[in-house]
């Protein structure tokens, strides 16, 4: 028992020191929490693939009841906003080039006649491909509107497609993004915090003072990793609160399981941060390394773009990315209500990363020489 206390007590001392050093700095107190708030709100409102108020232009050369009915349908969705009504095809290029509209719909002069004759009336859609995501989504909407229009005209019958999107019934991109932020935002900060923790001490000369104490590298590692993990979990909690109570995205799974997953995930992120920190000789290097890894980690995480759309090589590379599994785990527990039996495979790569990076950091403490 006494031996155990002798092992653990210095670690507790170190944890206390780390927390004091972090929270005694007024700038830190703000930097650690304000961005979590602001960024969650920014991502919640700003990062959205949902189309609303899409400006478009119309070239109606048919001037018929049929064409008016079709356009009324379009305006009635609430997704599109008619920005311009054109009179000649030559004007199309102009409005799109200027970026006033992202698409132009051209209804040919024989639109009503062809429909009346029971033929297929082509509607030309000209899209601004400079933003392919929006253009793609907009054309999808138009196709849906056209289908609905056809169905109405034929007076029922035929095949109707009924969509049911599970876990996100209205397919809101906010539901996709905000829960993922629980993992992503906290990673950005914990990574930086962990990366600076040793580098700051090296730069200020206190690391030597720490190394001459009887603390073993393992004790230093644990004493430095735990405060970073604690702060990471705290940040995740902030984002979780905003998701639950501000954006009111209903949570399907177990809170306990979510936190278990976050613990594993933050541990892996801290492991990466500590390794970078032990490698860096000063804070500037640590910061640079962190920014170098954050970009690919975020890009290859499946946060925005699905991992299975990536080339095979990159898909394999994502296995060392704890954020990929963190995002997957959080989304599945939060939206799908997945249990441990469903998501345990996510833990394996995260533990593997932590198991490599944490001991590596401990080894580097004493072997990385200035």
């Amino acid at each position: 028992m006494n031996e155990f206390a002798a092992l653990v007590f210095p670690i507790l001392t170190l944890i206390r020191k780390e927390l004091l050093a972090i929270f005694k700095d007024p700038a830190n107190r703000i930097v650690l929490f304000a961005p979590a708030f602001v960024q969650t709100l920014l991502f919640g409102y700003g990062a959205s693939f949902d189309l609303t108020n899409v400006p478009y232009a119309v070239l109606d050369q048919s001037h018929s009841a049929a064409s008016s009915a079709f356009l009324a349908h379009l305006d009635g969705t609430g997704v599109f906003r008619r920005q311009a009504t054109l009179s000649t095809p030559g004007q199309i290029a102009q409005v799109i080039d200027q970026g006033r509209v992202i698409m132009a719909i051209s209804l040919p002069s024989d639109f009503a006649d062809t429909l009346a004759a029971g033929g297929d009336a082509p509607v030309q859609l000209i899209l601004d491909g400079r933003n392919s995501t929006t253009a793609g989504a907009a054309s999808g909407y138009i196709a849906a509107v056209a289908t609905a229009f056809n169905a109405r005209r034929s007076g029922g019958g035929g095949i109707t497609l009924v969509r049911r999107a599970w876990f996100n019934p209205n397919l809101e991109s906010r539901w996709q993004i905000v829960p993922a932020m629980i993992a992503t935002l906290s990673m950005l900060q914990t990574l930086l915090l962990a990366a600076l923790s040793v580098a700051r001490e090296r730069e200020q000369g206190t690391f030597d003072q720490l190394l001459v104490t009887p603390l073993t590298p393992l004790q230093i590692l644990v004493g430095k990793a735990i405060p970073s993990i604690m702060i990471g979990m705290l940040q995740s909690s902030i984002v979780l609160m905003i998701a639950l109570f501000w954006f009111q995205i209903p949570m399907s799974g177990s809170i306990a399981l979510l936190y278990l997953g976050l613990l594993g995930f933050t541990g892996a992120a801290v492991g990466i941060g500590m390794s970078l920190s032990a490698l860096a000789l000063n804070m500037q290097q640590a910061m640079l390394y962190t920014f170098l890894v954050i970009m690919p980690l975020t890009l290859l995480s499946g946060l925005i773009t699905p991992v299975r759309n990536m080339p095979q090589v990159l898909q394999i590379a994502t296995y060392v990315n704890p954020l990929r599994f963190g995002v997957d785990l959080v989304r599945r527990v939060y939206l799908e209500g997945a249990g441990l039996g469903d998501i345990y495979p996510d833990f394996i790569p995260m533990f593997a990363v932590a198991a490599v990076t944490l001991p590596l950091a401990a080894w580097l403490f004493r072997h990385r020489l200035a």
């Binding site: 002798a6 020191k17 200020q204 104490t213």
Partner: protein, 608 residues
């Protein structure tokens, strides 16, 4: 000598710098404004070498930077080369050269590229370069290394290159801010040779700041500053007369270490201005009002005789008087090591003969480079052991291996009875370490720092609280003060307290006195000698050679090899006739060592 040196073109009478009522206000770390300089009246005569002396924080750098037009005065007038610096800073800067304390060498550029760059910046013509570069390179002895990147030079060589870059053109006024700080005695001597040669050949007007009195002694005029005030000015002779008749030297009784007598004298601060051990004796300065009788019980039956006064003595007297006017004599905290210290008991009795540190054939290589080559020595319990050497000699490497911060490549290393290669954690428990730079957590309070280090050494609960109370009292520390904004002297006390919190048997001190003023240095050594008397072994590195006199034994290293080992007296004797004082003994021994190695292995020198 050139026919028309610029100094002679100026009217002889007109000073190059004139300052009246000069004032500069800074904001302190505690956000309270203070006068970095006030009421400064100051002149620099053309064609002369003028020195600014004073401890850190005296205002020397502030004055230099104002003269260079880099800081605006907050009051008074400042005229440089006949121009008002406040309004014509650029015009002044075009005609002066300024070498700041940390000169801006481009570390990735070679020596030649650095010179070219500075010549380009100053618009030096091709013809001037062809004439000047070889001369500068020869003077600095850097001609052999022109292709070497500046980042790979030793501290002394960097300073010399910095000086060469400053001198790519002939300025009307040369400002040198502590050019010799952190430079070993050999490079220091070389630097001064260059400066004096440039003055003789080109009639430069030079203003130099320094912490070394032997350097100020070479100047025509000396201005003494402390805490933003000018205390005195005059020629070195004029300043010396202030202490005429007050300077004495006493020999300790046989078997009495000089530092014990020094401690006895310096503790009597109402009668003694200053005392330092030197050459086995103690040099001291009496207070002017003290009579012979009053000193009798201090000196007792020891032999005391007057000695010639030096600039250093005058400087110490001025500082001591100024500090007591300010009512804060930074005397050593009493009884740091307990009551037995006061009795002045001889340290040799307390010394155990068994070595507490054993070093055998210690080697450390970094790649192909051998930083420490086959070094062996012992340190006995209770000893004060000094590690000395020029920049890059391997003393820091040796030191870091001794405290377990750096693994040895080969050899045997035993500290406090524990083999450092097999049981580092156990050995670390028995040693304390005080880094060169303040290395505690700046935004934690004194108490929090001590609690952390106590806890890291395994103290907890009551034992920790008791120990913290004792050590706070010992070093007179305010537990709630924030560590980062403590004055320098208190920072060092805190660092010592943290290093001693677990009552180690050995205390390692890395350059503890660099950058602190002479009064604080005396107080610091007083603490060290007291600690040593209580049985703590002290290992210390320093580049103030006179401080070696406080040590029981010293080791001098150069190029990784141990050149001398023994008592200060023995080392001085090894230096032969040139060993008048520690500084010249050091230079002599290092030069002898270099000559020996040159004659022994000329081939390898040529290859590398």
């Amino acid at each position: 000598m050139s026919v028309a040196a610029p100094g002679e073109l100026l009217p002889r009478k007109r000073p190059v710098v004139v300052a009246r009522d000069l004032r500069k206000v800074f904001t302190g770390p505690d956000a309270v404004p203070f006068d970095a300089l006030r009421d400064v009246h100051f002149e620099v005569a053309p064609g002369t070498l003028t020195a600014l002396v004073g401890p850190d924080g005296a205002g020397k750098t502030t004055l230099m930077r104002m003269i260079a037009g880099l800081l605006h005065p907050d009051g008074g007038t400042l005229e440089v080369l006949g121009l008002d610096v406040r309004h014509e800073a650029q015009a002044v800067q075009n005609r002066i050269s300024y070498m700041p304390q940390r000169f801006g060498l481009y570390e990735d550029l070679s020596i030649q590229e650095n010179l070219d760059l500075y010549a380009d910046l100053h618009g030096v013509s091709k013809e001037t370069r062809a004439e000047r570069f070889p001369r500068l390179l020869a003077m600095t002895d850097l001609a052999r290394f022109t292709a070497r990147p500046a980042g790979q030079l030793s501290g002394g060589m960097k300073q010399k290159l910095g000086l060469a870059c400053t001198l790519v053109r002939v300025p009307d006024l040369l400002l040198l801010d502590e050019p010799s700080v952190g430079v070993d005695p050999l490079s220091r001597r070389d630097l001064w040779t260059i400066i004096e040669q440039m003055i003789a050949e080109e009639g430069l007007s030079v203003l130099v700041s320094t912490a070394y009195m032997d350097e100020a002694e070479r100047c025509e005029r000396v201005h003494v500053f402390n805490k933003g005030e000018q205390l005195a000015q005059g020629t070195p002779q004029e300043l010396r007369t202030r202490v005429a008749g007050l300077t004495w030297v006493a020999s300790p009784r046989s078997e009495e270490p000089a530092r014990d007598l020094q401690a006895r004298l310096i503790d009597a601060s109402e009668r003694i201005v200053d005392a330092v051990p030197s050459g086995g004796e103690v040099r001291y300065i009496r207070r002017p009002e003290v009579t012979d009788e009053q000193l009798d019980d201090l000196v007792g039956d020891r032999v005391a005789r007057p000695r010639e006064e030096e600039l250093e003595d005058a400087f110490m007297l001025l500082l001591r008087e100024h500090e007591s006017d300010r009512n804060q004599v930074p005397g050593p905290s009493a009884d740091v090591a307990g009551d037995e210290v006061r009795s002045g008991s001889s340290t040799s009795a307390a010394k155990d003969e068994a070595p507490i540190i054993e070093v055998r054939d210690l080697v450390r290589r970094f790649g192909d480079f051998t930083a420490v080559a086959s070094t062996s020595f012992d340190v006995r319990r209770g000893e004060i052991f000094g590690l000395l050497g020029p920049n890059g000699a391997g003393k820091t490497t040796t030191f870091r291996m001794l405290c377990g911060l750096l693994p040895a490549t080969s050899g045997h290393l035993e500290v406090a009875g524990v083999n450092l290669r097999t049981a580092r954690a156990t050995a670390r428990r028995r040693i304390g370490y005080v880094a060169q730079k303040f290395a505690l957590y700046a935004n934690l309070s004194v108490r929090e720092n001590l609690e952390f280090f106590g806890g890291a050494y395994g103290l907890r609960g009551r034992a920790l609280r008791d120990r913290i109370r004792v050590i706070e009292a010992q070093f007179e520390l305010d537990p709630h003060a924030q560590s980062g904004i403590l004055p320098h002297g208190y920072k060092q006390r805190l660092a010592m307290a943290a290093g001693l919190i677990h009552e180690p048997r050995i205390l390692f001190l890395d350059e503890p006195t660099s950058g602190i003023d002479p009064l604080a240095r005396r107080a610091f050594w007083r603490t060290i000698t007291q600690l040593s008397q209580s049985g703590v072994t002290i290992i210390v590195t320093t580049h103030f050679m006179e401080e070696a006199e406080y040590c029981d034994r010293i080791a001098i290293q150069d190029a990784g090899r141990l050149l001398a080992l023994g008592t200060p007296r023995k080392v001085r004797e090894q230096a032969g006739e040139r060993g008048r004082d520690m500084n010249s003994a050091f230079i002599a021994i290092v030069e002898q060592g270099r000559e020996a190695s040159m004659s022994r292995e000329p081939e390898t020198e040529a290859v590398s």
